[in-house]
């Protein structure tokens, strides 16, 4: 490779680059000049592919020959809410097969919303001698047979994290496939597994892995066995309990309390399925040190819940059901001054009537009391512009604000006005806002505010909002950093989309379902924009059997250098020049 005499040695640049790990920085480095591009690509160790269809594995392999860690995402985010029909795609096998040949030294694979077969897991298990970390987040398509292959073959495994994945588990015995000589496990998350795992295998595994810092159990691990596990791993930093109920027996209680007391490093707690409140005091010894508490699956209510939370004075992250109510959030605001992230989930999302007293007041209290609040996910049944304006003023550092008012198109319940002003205040005051989810009654005006003020916004989720294409146009033309846009049930049609076609190439993806985009517009977009895949998803049948101006059911547009994909099911059509 040609080098100018004045440039410093490759090795020095490589050494400098070894300290640069952020993808954005690495990408910037690679654009400086050809020689930097070359040096950078040879020493890049980690790659993040936000959309597995944006690039082909061969392209990644060709450019980055020395990868040790690959992270991929598959289905669009709305797949979490059943809006993407089964079989849409996101199958990881082609990637795994390619990676297996190209990177024998690969150490980490992290997948999100992908379809992972047992065969894929077997290939992983057998192809990478130094494999260390497997994260399967919201994945599906595999069973405990695949996990057994990983357990049996990955001698240096450090992390196995199955968060929120759907796993077929015919057998709980896979855990026993970790050989007795296997001691390297540092992180294990099996909270999503439905069936029991062999407890004795689990206990022995936990006991012989001195580096185990994260252990998230599934609900099938009974409470009276938890103490044994804890005594075998007092170095734990993150724990997810199993079921938290048992017959209230003094010896079980004191055993458990003693075990918790011994875990001096514990910083994060989760689990708590089916809580029997009588056992909650067993965790009190560790509460003051907790920075993260996830009670999303815990049916604790009232005073028990408030008492637990108010003891966690160092809390930075709280995930909780709306059983916490306004009153509990007031307490939270008073006690937990370091809180940065709050998520409040609905305990009865489909009930017609509220079953708890959780309103906008709770969130306002938290914004008042917790100056470091940055990330909010809040399900509630009523909201006002005034509350949103107050929250915006109290939390200028907000980076992620997701509000879900359960009734679609609910107005400000006091003034009956749309919530445009409230969300407008959020985007205007929270200048670092990167993620926003809207709900309630909203007109095109809110999108005008978003387009004007939300200059750092990267992800926007919209449902049942807006009046016309103007709304979509404001967002596409105004939000410079927009990366992902997902829209459902909004009156957005062809005009805004076609007028902002080039914008779509600057974004990762756009999802629109139950909107008003016509088949004709989709075809046009697909024909004219070769670097976009325009996927029409329609379970009613081929769109060309209907009039061209008929709106499509669902539309998924993403930029890609891989061209159209060929693994589409019968209800997905890619629009491009030839195939339509």
């Amino acid at each position: 490779m040609l080098r100018k005499a004045s440039s410093f040695p490759e090795e020095m640049l490589e050494h400098v680059l070894s300290f640069i790990t952020s993808d954005k920085d690495r990408n910037a480095v690679s654009l400086v000049c050809k020689s930097w591009y070359e040096i950078e690509r040879w020493c890049r160790k980690r790659i993040f592919v936000g959309n597995c269809y944006a690039v082909r594995p061969e392209m990644v392999i060709r450019r980055f020959p020395e990868l040790r860690s690959v992270e991929l995402k598959g289905k669009p985010h709305f797949a979490d809410f059943d809006l993407v029909p089964d079989g849409w795609g996101g199958c990881v096998y082609p990637w795994i097969a390619a990676l297996a040949t190209a990177y024998p030294l690969l150490e980490e694979i992290k997948l999100k919303r992908m379809v992972v077969s047992d065969e894929s897991l077997e290939v992983i298990a057998k192809s990478f001698k130094n494999f260390k970390v497997l994260v399967l987040s919201s994945c599906e398509g595999f069973s405990t047979d695949g996990l057994a292959a990983v357990a049996a073959n990955c001698r240096n495994l450090r992390g196995l994290d199955l968060r929120e994945s759907e796993v077929d588990d015919p057998s709980g015995q896979w855990l026993s496939r970790f050989p007795d000589s296997f001691t390297s496990l540092a992180s294990l998350n099996i909270s999503c597994l439905g069936a029991e795992v062999s407890f004795s295998a689990l206990e022995r595994l936990v006991g012989r892995c001195p580096d185990l810092k994260t252990l998230r159990l599934n609900h099938a691990v009974p409470l009276d066995k938890l103490a044994n596990l804890l005594r075998g791993a007092p170095q734990l930093v993150e724990l997810g309990t199993g079921a938290y109920s048992a017959e209230l027996q003094p010896d079980v209680f004191s055993n458990l309390a003693g075990a918790f007391s011994g875990c001096k490093e514990l910083r994060s707690l989760s689990g708590f399925w089916n809580v029997f409140p009588g056992y909650l005091p067993a965790v009190y010894p560790v509460c003051s040190g907790l920075t993260s508490l996830n009670l999303r699956d815990a049916n604790i209510q009232g005073a028990d819940l408030i008492k637990l939370v108010s003891q966690c004075r160092s809390l930075q992250r709280l995930w909780v059901l709306d059983y916490i109510e306004d009153i509990g959030l007031e307490e939270l605001a008073a006690c937990c001054k370091d809180l940065t992230e709050l998520r409040v989930f609905p305990s009865d999302p489909y009930g017609a009537e509220p079953n708890v007293s959780l309103t906008e007041r709770g969130l306002v209290s938290v914004s008042e009391g917790c100056p470091k609040l940055q990330s909010v996910l809040y399900f509630c049944r009523q909201m006002t512009n005034a509350a949103l304006v107050t929250i915006a003023k109290n939390s200028p550092r907000m980076t992620c604000f997701r509000l879900c008012i359960i009734e679609p198109r609910a107005p400000d319940y006091q003034t009956l006005q749309p919530l445009d002003l409230g969300f407008g205040a959020i985007v205007e005051n929270c200048k670092d806002l990167r993620r926003l989810s809207l709900s309630g009654l909203l007109t095109d005006r809110v999108f005008e505010y978003i387009g004007t003020y939300a200059k750092k916004l990267e992800m926007l989720s919209v449902a049942f909002a807006g009046d016309s294409d103007l709304g979509l146009h404001h967002v596409l033309s105004g939000c410079e950093k927009l990366c992902k846009l997902e829209i459902r049930d909004c009156p957005f049609g062809d005009n805004a989309l076609l007028a902002n076609a080039a914008k779509l190439e600057t974004m990762r993806s756009l999802w629109m379902s139950s909107c008003s985009v016509s088949f004709r517009a989709c075809k046009l977009l697909g024909q004219k924009m070769p670097r976009l895949n325009v996927e029409v998803i329609d379970e009613r049948g081929p769109p060309d059997l209907r009039p061209e101006n008929c709106p499509v059911e669902k539309l998924y547009i993403y930029r890609t250098i891989a061209g159209p994909r060929f693994d589409m099911p019968g209800f997905v059509w890619t629009m491009n020049g030839d195939s339509v």
């Binding site: 109920s245 017959e247 009588g278 609905p346 679609p408 449902a463 005009n495 076609l498 008003s516």
Partner: protein, 232 residues
């Protein structure tokens, strides 16, 4: 927004025929579109020109003045060809049990994995609970196989109806203690707690005062609870 209504009659699709997304292929056959294709970029500069040219395209005479202009940029009306009238579109979906749910699909945005797991979990948890023996020992009925008994609790004067799992309690005392703490905080009862009584509806639909029958019988027959103010 009144301006929008005046523009309702303008066509939406005609201009697409002449519309070319691609800068290279742009054919200036429609002079009214101006010298620049008024499509694409997000830079403000271009937008300004685009706004002007679109006004020309639609025969508008108004000069570029303020941020209000975006309303005029478009033909402005909601797309006519759909049935969207700002009305609620509720899709009735039939869930796996064949029950018709008057719910909007995928709303509220709860993780579907969690929904499935919760259903599955209920069964699994019951199985686990069976083997680990329930807290309300002595009240556990082997027969029904269900390990929780949720009943609604309504308090006079309180809008929200709560739900509690009676199997967590083994006596009237523990039950009332828990209810007091649950409701007291909201109502600032304090000493007033003495002025309330706990009543329940039994299997026959009758409302009775709680405490008269043995706990076991109470547990078998209670359907719902109500906390009422004492008279006088």
């Amino acid at each position: 927004m009144e301006l929008q209504l005046g523009l309702r009659s303008l066509p939406t699709y005609n201009f697409i025929e002449n519309f070319d997304l691609n800068n290279d292929g742009f054919e200036p056959k429609d002079q009214m579109l101006g010298s620049k294709p008024w499509i694409i970029s997000c830079e403000d500069g271009n937008n300004m020109d685009n706004k002007r040219s679109s006004e020309v395209a639609f025969g508008k005479n108004t000069g570029y003045a303020s941020r209000e202009l975006p309303l005029l940029l478009w033909s402005g009306q909601p797309n006519d060809e759909d049935d969207w009238n700002g009305e609620k579109k509720i899709s009735c979906s039939i869930n796996k049990n064949g029950e018709e749910e008057n719910r909007v699909e995928g709303w509220p945005p709860i993780n579907s994995w969690r929904k499935k797991v919760l259903h599955h979990d209920q069964d699994q948890v019951r199985h686990v609970m069976n083997s680990s023996r329930m807290a309300a020992a002595g009240n556990y009925e082997n027969g029904d196989g269900s390990n929780s008994k949720y009943v609604k609790v309504k308090m006079e004067g309180v809008a929200i109806t709560r739900k509690i799992d009676l199997r967590l309690y083994n006596s009237y005392q523990t039950l009332t203690k828990s209810l007091t703490s649950m409701f007291a905080k909201c109502q600032n009862l304090g000493n007033d707690a003495a002025r309330y009584s706990l009543t329940y509806q039994d299997k026959d639909g009758d409302w009775l005062v709680a405490g008269d029958v043995p706990w076991q019988s109470f547990m078998e027959s209670v359907q719902r609870l109500k906390i009422v103010r004492n008279a006088g």
